[in-house]
Symmetry: C3
Subunit: 335 residues, 3 copies
């Protein structure tokens, strides 16, 4: 990785040098590291209060700090509005996202009716189906399967062994982590008195621009109509999105979350790991769910919820504390 | 899709025209859609009471309704015993399940000792191991791996990148969604004082006729003896079935359910998403579990359970309501 | 499978013949089976008290029993220190772990810069990236993808369609079950006021010797620094390990467990299915979590926990029993 000066770092992140580094703007920076592990040619940052004490001992050349964060004397500082964002920007400088260069491995099976724009990479043993279209700069990783009639935008990255089933649509900048499946059949059957009749899942999945889907996560195609993740939605590993769900722009779901069929999630929501939402519900914009929440009813916009069944987070804090007092309460009652 | 007359629709689903459509039996129907989105050449149905108001405004040519469901004046109706089943039957007419046609892609690796019946499709880069046998009409999707000695019945569909490990047996009409793994090793180790000794998982997985396994779900092979999903079992995405589990016919498990080793699940059970059952238990026929239930003991047939630890659903409704009253109860006690 | 005498069985497991089998040391044993299913040429064992009654009726040639386990008259016995370990050792005799023999399928894509030791198997349609190194006796299954610069030790087994992303390191004896993904990007974004900026995940995953990762499980690469599973860690199917987690040696996690980012898990821990641990926590050595536990704070070494939020298991037993008494408690209070 090519080193850059600390003055260039400040420039990249839109920050200002402070502390002793003011006098050494040409000091070379080779990367970013944690407070504990950073060396004298590395930048660092304070992302979690838990690690604040490490500001005293870090060997980092400088630390991204906001205007209100105090620092020990002698610490190199780059003052920024948002230290975490500054960290992200600097890392993106050192590790830009990969982009396709037109390398199509001879072992890839690309249907002759598929249309690949310029600079599309297709990895070994990947499969591109009939009439698929793939935009410029997109990387289709080894072992990926892209079904018939799939449309994939520009600068997407499909990591190894991920799958996009027929007819699904991915916007620009979409990233699928390894093993993610887009467009598997939704879970729908009708009982005919003797057995289950499988209901055709005739809809699609639409992933708008900048959606990312985690490793081994699954987004099912709609039964009728589409399953839609609006732009900027981020799903962690092993998340389940059932048929006909819609997730609003920039909502974020941690690992192992499950959203049941036809539920509509608002924009800018944040769901903790292993939380779940029942089917046919409406969750308003900006809702937050603690990990392991179980949502059984509609939620108003902007709320913070926890528990199963989910309740306001404040109430949950009280209730879960009182649950541990139940033995005492029973004793008191029995006196 | 080829349109059919509304009279033909009534015939396919075993229903009767009612309302104004009685006079237009030759009206052409091109598909099925939701009440909100259906156009004048589409059928619709009422599957969830939540959408009942849309009967007033739908533009659908007609709606599947049961004898007891009322409808606004002027609404086209096809009276049926079970509207959801009628919807399923009509969709199956428009979207029949695919069936193999004998297309084996040149890039597929099919061991010369494998036996493929007529009309088996094998997709690009799929792998079929030694001595595997595959029944007529089955489709092995791109990137699938079928291990040695695997037996697969007729008219199965293995979607992209799904895996069936050695010796496992699939009946007729089995469907695996993308990324599903059948026959991975069960989770078994014995501590030898210094390290874990891996216990060979010498059994198989047997999926009886008409089983469906969801995307990225896993059904482990038995340690001794087999893991068995009886006919018609349906597993949603990301479900975990541990070694030596037996699931009774027509039981249905929603996404992210986990069943621990050697547990026996009865017939006709319905498990909500993210529920879990501990190992070596017996769950009776027809049990229902709410989402997120955690089962730690045997369950009698026909019960409905919720919560973790699981309790009768009625009790759980009371208990979870009272939990939110704990702050008041404590206050009252402290007076 | 080649039969062996019961005297040889006793030798393999370090046990002693007892009961009638003392007189028939040359009796041939062809395998191991459950008490219920074993025939007269099979050994069996009692692993779960639930099945104790079957000692009376088993047809097994003999049963592994510890010195303190009683047995009905006439039952063939092999006395051992640990019956479950004896079972494991005998099964390993009958089913040794497979090892590579240098078979590299012609359809595999092995970069010319990769270095494969002797006796490495590479299955059909597997992909080995540039500069990867793979140790002797390792088996790369069909459809697996091994990224650039990956280092894999000796005698590893990568089952079908598993993925190891670039730069990750696997020690000796590592096993990946089908569909496992090692080294997908961790889940990290910084909000830039308009959209999420993806934070490069520049670290690696390091799986030390004898680690096993279950089917469709995911271990993410570190954001900065590495995600590490120490030697002998065993993960069941569909487990999620987030970026920069460290799991101590010989810890074991059942299916669908999720560990959030930067959390440090001690050695010798045992986590029940569907349990979860929040991010940036420290869990001490030897902790046990019941299934579905939700851990929101640091845990001291050696504790046993249950519930969400997790509490000491003994307290959870009381609390969960009392929850079901809430209706009575309220009634009593209202009198």
């Amino acid at each position: 990785m090519k080193s850059i000066t600390i003055a260039e770092v400040a420039d990249i992140v839109g920050g200002e040098l402070a502390g002793p580094v003011i006098d050494t703007p040409d000091h070379l920076i080779s990367g970013v590291n944690s407070l504990a592990d950073a060396g004298s040619s590395e930048l660092s940052f304070l992302a979690n209060k838990r690690y604040k004490g490490q500001l005293e001992t870090t060997a980092a050349a400088a630390v991204f700090l906001s205007a209100t964060q105090s620092a020990p004397d002698g610490l190199g500082i780059i003052r920024v509005d948002d230290p975490y964002l500054a960290f992200a920007k600097l890392q993106r400088h050192f590790y830009p996202l990969p982009s396709g260069a037109g390398k199509q491995h001879v072992s890839a099976v690309i249907d002759e009716s598929a249309t690949l724009a310029e600079n599309v990479d297709v990895g070994p043993n990947a499969v591109i189906g009939a009439n698929a279209t793939i935009g410029a700069g997109t990387i289709i990783g080894p072992g990926c399967v892209v079904g018939e009639n799939v449309q994939i935008g520009k600068n997407c990255i499909l990591n190894a062994n991920s799958v996009v089933a027929y007819d699904c649509i991915l916007g620009d900048g979409v990233i699928l982590q390894a093993g993610a499946t887009i467009g598997a059949d939704g879970f729908g059957y009708a009982w005919d008195g003797m057995k289950f009749l499988k209901i055709p899942q005739a809809g699609r999945v639409i992933l708008e621009d900048d959606v990312e889907v985690g490793a081994n996560a699954s987004v099912d195609r709609g039964a009728i109509g589409d399953t839609v993740l609006e732009r900027g939605v981020k799903l962690d590993n092993l998340v389940q999105i059932a048929h006909n769900v819609r997730v609003g722009a920039f909502s974020v779901m941690a690992s192992q979350v499950g959203i049941s069929g036809s539920t509509v999630i608002g924009k800018g929501c944040q769901f903790g790991g292993q939380s779940g939402v029942a089917g046919h519900l409406v969750v308003g914009d900006g809702c937050k769910l603690a990990g392991k929440s179980g949502v059984l009813g509609d939620l108003e916009a902007g709320g913070v919820y926890a528990g199963s069944p989910a309740m306001p987070h404040r109430m949950w804090l009280k209730v879960s504390a009182l649950m541990m007092k139940l033995p005492e309460m029973l004793k008191a009652q029995q006196k």
